[in-house]
Symmetry: D2
Subunit: 345 residues, 4 copies
């Protein structure tokens, strides 16, 4: 089959013919229809510090996908899955036995294997994954199914708070930030403010339902948030930017007794004034990793199947598998929302 | 009446004769039996940056106390309080109407007036406070009643987590840290580890029930915590030290999916690696201000009245009102636990 | 002033001239613009068993209202309220000192005094109420303000659950049931099913956003709910009917691990199969009294001010104060949604 | 191997030689050391209505056990389990894929298979169970390991509430009720009251830490509870009796805003006054099935390994495998606490 492969240490990814993977006794084999390209794939392409420390080439990359179930191992659940089902999958393969897994926090499993990072991934015609990771689409199109991994990050970030009737500030309007805007609206937030330096991204945030968009290049974000919230600050900040300036705004914009959920991964440390920003403010801070397995998926499926949440406006580009370099380039250019690879059908 | 007064801007506190305060229509007048001396009183004595910005002398200081109810305004509740009751009081006088108060988070009221800081306090023979702030002791001795304010800080810090069966690390064993040790044990923690540089304080922590005490001067705190928790780290860290090194240990010692409750107020900022310490760890962080009004008081009264929690080992010194300078000195010396002023009877 | 008064034990209510009530030191005097007529007022009119045991005539009745703040006692908060503000008020006057009040559950205060039931009420040109019970409308029309009491019952019922993405069954589509439909939709429910025997009420439920309406007279409610939820049953049942048949449907329609919030007050006991319906189902059941003070009010204000929730379709009739008997009659006829008295302006 | 077998429909259980079960690819084979006899086994022995509807003989019975891991399938986790480990196991084998399993409520899986009920059980020299159900004892004796199933029911019942500082009433002092007493004390309850008609059981409840025991034959349970709680009622009722009179006491003894967790399975329906007992009381009711998988096991292991909870006083009888009829008889006589079968070593 055709697959995008990181062949060896160093930049780049190549299209290669590789064998179709074998479906183990508890596994599912899935024919990939669509796959999503993620910032992580960019790190892998560029072979940055993180990638060179983590990946062991050769490896098929890609971790966001959806397609058709074509084979099911004999130990896998035969009642809730069937050959021919259109499906996506949680890309974190967890152990099920460590403390975190046992406490219902499998997304924090210390032995997590991520597809396309620690084991062969989804930028290929077929992928094998444990059947327990598979999620039926039940009517959600595979193009949307292919982005349920990052969409799930947004669902996890937003729903780890009491959203109905609340005021929400989303800092950073990359694809996951834009998704967070849509999730907050779907979950009954009263006011969703989105902030980014990039005008194109603010446009996508508005398309996803942001009632107010701010550009820190021209707006005093914190002052505007205070103004829009009667001086109190917002109930919930979703920090999706990973920038120290985003952190500073997050702490300043959250109300007394409010909450900040951090998803954006910063590349360096941030100075925090614990007394002013956390202790005297009675703040709650939460770090978001992955998707809750599988509450996040359940809630996301509900939102998508009812149409309460439509992530399609965020999909801005589609490429065939052999145009991965063009796909990587539009992400680098910063004018893309979500970029999709069209692989099969 | 006799009272300890900050007469004017600058260091020191003086004993003066001042009028007994007048009991307003919704107020209670209380004859003070015992009062507790707090680090805050030390800041006020020394007239540091915080004190000079916040206090408006002349002011009777002191905010931890207990005594006898001697007068009740006509608008005050006459059913649940009676002249002659031994009582203590929440020292934060809150507005009841702001967003935080309306959401049940009165401890974060933006218009909080603290006795002994923003209005006349308790280092005096009598104090007036709104009757709704008064807490009946119902058998708890006034000497213990006099320290329910800082004890309540510890109760708030510890109980803002799921404690039964959990592992807890208390960083910093000043009086509130030592109280936190006792609260964690009373609330069913399985393992309480306490850490401080000061051997005398570690002794008090052990007296309060710490099963393991660590001294960062000689122990590798994080390595020892990992060892004691099967490599996982603790479920809950109570950060009571306010030191950047405490912060670093807190983040390193908390388990994946764990929690850090911060109470110790640092005097400067801390560098935080959000990616490693919060996001990938799925951590929850909570800032502790005051006492929940009045859940914290209710739980504390239960613990004290049953004897599940005995804070007396932490009381190391007792002085009459006119020995305030000696009281301040033993606190400065770092060899004191809780210091009590014996005022009336 | 003119007021509707229950003058003595026995059926009926009469329009009388009575003195304008006096504003106490912590009170607010409000000129009533609109008031809502409630089933409780019907019980009082008819002088049923409950009414004759509870009320001590003579008494001005009515507990749902909104109007203009015209006087404020000297002990009342002068910062957040001002003469001329359009306001409504929580009609449960609570003690603030009992166990429930101290634990943040003032809606369960054992010493609650309800306006129009235990103290003079709102079917009058003026009403006096503690200033702390007053809620500013900030742009919400007084006609809507007048029904925030029952709307708040619905907000309390629905939001005491995790609503975003959930499936909700509302049993009983009187005004509060219809409001619950709208609240569930505003809070991000994925599917709201409403059930009632009365076709007119089902029409109102649809107007409030119910995606499916069922009539137990012709539909097998439980079978239909199962069908609509893939066989699982709903996440949340809001039992607003108070009928034993509603109870049976509630237990049968809730999913394993689901939740039933009971608001509708039955006039007699119900047989419950605890093993089948509660224990083996892992169900959570919650009893709804009043409105959470004041979280419910805060969330409701947010929903109303943004337009996420529009309760106006439920208002079907309006009468002047002297047409109370007509107002009572349309409620008895069962063809009314919410009935409003237009008192002042 | 020797095993206790229900050979065919009808009363009784017989000791038979049967083949050692085969360890599947994801399974563990365990040599049983100790097993616990449960009320369920009595129902199976007597072949009552429930048993005849549910069981498909022939079947090895028994679902509470601990022993030594002797074989591990190739798909099973090889890192956290090792041959020779002393272990117990969750006896509910769940599907992992249904809605409840996906939402972290595997204890409510609709496709649950219970060992000794739906598949071969533990009253035998060996048992096979999925490796993911296995729990390492890590120092807990196998005799105690053998009762972690019913002990886990008690842990689930008690910890599904905020226990530290609370008042708890345990209704029904069979083994699980007695365990609940111990769990409540370990988790920091301030007052634990236990009630039963059987003096021997009240003795066991006292041995487990009940501060007050009541006998409904001679005590007015509700009046005494009110007296002991300052008139308020208890924060938490654990209903372990399954008797309608227990239900009535539970509702009457719970405080306003309190909670009742129901575990005792009644054989018939109960009349509930929803208005008085649930709605106006603002009560929360929760039905307890099994053990949370695997939070309950984690907390229980912590309690047992630290010695915070010692269930041994409840173990009153021990028998070899061939004395099952004597074991059943002491349970019938009502003078037993927990009855253990000593099978291997």
């Amino acid at each position: 089959m055709r697959a995008l492969v990181k062949e060896s240490a160093g930049p780049g990814i190549v299209l290669r013919d590789v064998p179709v993977p074998t479906c183990g006794p508890s596994d599912a084999l899935i024919k990939v229809h669509h796959a999503g390209v993620c910032g992580t794939d960019l790190h892998i392409w560029e072979w940055d510090n993180w990638a060179s420390n983590r990946l062991k080439p050769p490896l098929v990359i890609g971790h966001e996908f959806a397609g058709e179930l074509t084979e099911l191992g004999p130990e896998a659940d035969q009642d809730l899955l069937a050959i021919g089902d259109l499906v996506t999958a949680e890309g974190h393969v967890v152990c099920g036995h460590c403390l975190q897994c046992r406490l219902g926090a499998g997304h924090l499993c210390r032995r997590t294997q991520i597809i396309g990072v620690d084991r062969d991934g989804a930028f290929a015609e077929y992928i094998v994954i444990p059947a327990s990771n598979v999620i039926r689409l039940d009517g959600i199109p595979t193009e949307v199914g292919a982005i349920m991994d990052p969409l799930g990050n947004a669902v996890h970030t937003v729903l780890e708070a009491e959203v109905p009737g609340s005021t929400v500030l989303v800092l950073g309007c990359g694809p996951i930030g834009c998704f967070a805007v849509g999730v907050a609206r779907a979950a009954g937030a009263s006011l969703v403010i989105a902030s980014d330096y990039n005008a194109r991204r603010l446009e996508l945030a508005r398309a996803m339902g942001a009632q107010v968009t701010l550009n820190p290049g021209s707006d005093d974000v914190v002052a505007r948030v205070r103004e829009l919230t009667g001086g109190d600050g917002v109930d919930l900040v979703c920090e999706m930017s990973g920038h120290p300036s985003g952190h500073a705004q997050a702490f300043a914009a959250a109300r007394m007794g409010g909450r900040i959920n951090f998803l954006g991964t910063p590349s360096r440390t941030t100075e925090v004034d614990f007394a002013r920003d956390i202790i005297f403010k009675g703040l709650t801070v939460y770090g978001v990793t992955g998707r809750k397995m599988y509450q996040t998926w359940h809630q996301m499926r509900r939102f998508l199947r009812t149409g309460q949440l439509n992530p399609k406006p965020v999909i801005t580009h589609r490429f065939p598998l052999d145009c991965i370099s063009e796909a990587i380039q539009v992400i680098k250019d910063g004018q893309a929302g979500k970029v999709i690879l069209e692989i099969g059908a």
